[in-house]
Symmetry: C2
Subunit: 405 residues, 2 copies
């Protein structure tokens, strides 16, 4: 997906936010989750620089930690990010906002106690879990003291943090990029459902030891999310809590061009998005829907998203059924320029429909594998876009009908 040549950098999956120099992290079980599993994570920037940028949910109903973090990001500066699973702190009113504020204050106070003078305004807060309940603040605040204490400089701190932000995720998701220019990017993400445009219940923290300003990070993060997380669409649902943060500290003593930064951040986000798709709730098929020949890239994206969200297309794919008629019915609903008699469809590279009509053998295409590519050519122009999605399976229904109980 990235425009960079392959030998400029390499990606490694068993490292995350602590792969770049000068970042520490930790993850612990603070008792927020009734299960006793890890639920509190901290990512700490040792400096010397503290540039940061963030992208947040487009949902009008924003969780308290989103309101808090969006506000502190206006400074373009972060020393730490504290993240909890086990509760979204969303739809919790003014009390919930006070909880988010108190969480940041406690992190600042504890870091200051250990010698790093920090203000709450330098601490972003991210939460994920059930919407509507207040957090057990006694456990959160006690956990913060512990997680700051636990924080180590090795790789395992980043991996512990990646584990502590999991909800219905079945695996921790992290990736690191080592650039030939002598600097690094690392990231972690959680999210397995409610993944839709403009993000979804996903939290991501990306770190880099290159020297970059907040404005440079903002540009890199926006173009990266546009082409990666924003084009992963599992169930069309956008969460109240989505947050993607990018922190830079210049610890490598290297600089890079904006394009190099863009490419590196996008490569990390793209790999994290691929890991989210593979771990999406109830997924049995990883599907890439590509629309070509649209009147514009925007129209291609609208068409690809409409197909990727169609319940009848998604259930057909679960059944390994090359039901191209449902694909045409889906794209016919998209508010775009369309000539039904010009559409071509292929599954896994095999044409199943040309000029709006099925081709012989279309029903026999083998979709039994776990990877499916679905390509729709509209023959209207040069616009192209791809959406990553999944099938709609029994397991999706099972997980989501039992989530809050």
């Amino acid at each position: 997906m990235s425009g960079a040549s392959e030998d400029t950098f390499r990606l490694v999956r068993n490292q995350g936010v602590t792969a770049p120099l000068g970042f520490k992290a930790a993850g612990i079980a603070a008792g927020i989750k009734a299960s006793g599993r890890p639920d509190l994570a901290l990512v700490f920037n040792e400096g010397p620089e503290y540039s940061a940028a963030g992208v947040f949910t487009a949902n009008k109903v924003k969780a308290a930690p989103v309101l808090w973090s969006r506000q502190v990001l206006e400074t373009g500066r972060l020393r730490a990010v504290v993240l909890n699973s086990g509760g979204a702190n969303a739809c919790t009113g003014p009390g919930g906002f006070q909880d988010a504020h108190a969480t940041a204050e406690k992190v600042a106070e504890t870091l200051s106690h250990w010698g790093t003078e920090t203000g709450a305004i330098e601490v972003a807060v991210c939460s994920t879990g059930l919407i509507g309940d207040r957090l057990p603040m006694d456990k959160v605040l006690a956990g913060i003291v512990e997680v700051v204490h636990e924080m180590g400089g090795g790789m395992s701190g980043g991996t512990d943090a990646a584990h502590a932000i999991m909800t219905t995720d079945t695996v921790a998701k992290e990736t690191a990029l080592h650039h030939s220019g002598g600097w690094n990017v690392g990231g972690m993400v959680k999210g397995a459902g409610m993944i839709a445009p403009a993000l979804a219940t996903m939290l991501a923290v990306v770190t880099t030891d290159v020297s970059a300003t907040a404005a440079q990070l903002d540009e890199a993060l926006r173009q990266a999310t546009k082409y990666t997380f924003d084009r992963l669409d599992v169930d069309g649902v956008t969460s109240t809590n989505d947050t993607v943060l990018l922190l830079a500290n210049g610890a490598s003593e290297k600089t890079c061009s904006q394009q190099e930064l863009n490419d590196a951040v996008r490569a990390v986000c793209d790999d994290l998005a691929a890991q989210m798709q593979a771990d999406a709730e109830g997924v049995t098929k990883r599907v890439t829907v590509t629309v070509t020949g649209a009147a514009s890239e925007d129209e291609a994206l609208i068409a690809a998203r409409t197909i990727a969200r169609d319940s009848l297309v998604k259930t057909a794919l679960f059944g390994s059924d090359p039901n191209w008629g449902r694909v045409l019915a889906a794209v016919g609903m998209a508010p775009i320029a369309l000539d039904p008699d010009a559409i071509a469809v292929s599954f896994n590279g095999q044409p199943v429909c040309e000029n709006g009509v099925g081709v012989p053998g279309a029903r026999g295409v083998d979709l039994s594998g776990s990877e499916i590519t679905l390509t729709v050519d509209l023959a209207q122009g040069a616009g192209t876009a791809a959406i990553r999605t999944t099938d709609l399976s029994h397991a999706y229904v099972e997980e989501n009908s039992a989530y809050s109980s």
Copy 2:
């Protein structure tokens, strides 16, 4: 739902399109379905008038019978409607359109042979089933001769027709209205999935023996579908084949006001829509989502539809889970005027969220019954709208992953 007082008319469910005077119908097994189940229906207007109106799918990909019927309806006149299940004749190219035309020609020729001089332009064609395959025209044409022969004047003809248009429907759906003014309306419908705004894989034929012009029928049908079929949204999918037809023959020798006609047609369509909701694919819950306090009726409708289509809301309802946080997350995605801190939500009349925050006991609301009302008040204005929908169940996934095989 209707504005008419209850003693103006009464509804009866075991009668359909042949309840009004001067309409005949039949349904037979023509061998279009491999299962050998009934698959060909005819509705015949004996006159003396032949006024008609139609509403068709908004999907840009329109099946051949939709293109045909939309064309013949320009005359405002119909003598007969022929309907088949077992194949949608959609995405079948010019050959498919020729098949729809040949079907109408055969009906006209056969009716003419039996003494009713008829042209193909007086015959509407409706098809439903798998998209993308040509119809077995030898069976369709032979079936037409048989179905015209079978056509009887009794109630059973209407019921046979209602059975012959079923696909994944588990019950035939028909209803009749007897008006105190001495005239009648009858209707049948098929459709159990792919039900969304601007209709979906649903075919409906409504008949009346009142005297009305095509323009009067058109107004009555448009306002009826707007508030009934268009507000039933099972899976957000709009089909290639949706058709609703209204035929009038004046056989009662009665006339009525436009308002009386509107009310009667809407009452019949509303009852048919309720039957479709109850029989929707894989439904375990019948859900009505009502949004009040929106800035306008349009915004209320957008909000209600967004909630009704949300996979996470629908799976929660399948699990009898009063997960109001997912309702807020859903409505927060709607492109409407919204104050997250002013929203109130109730399930089955019990408040679960006020001013955007959960109320004590919200998680304990009992949703174990099969009927659920979900009401969301936005506190923005006076706009109100309701959408009928269903839960998202294992059975939905099962039926739709196996449909074309």
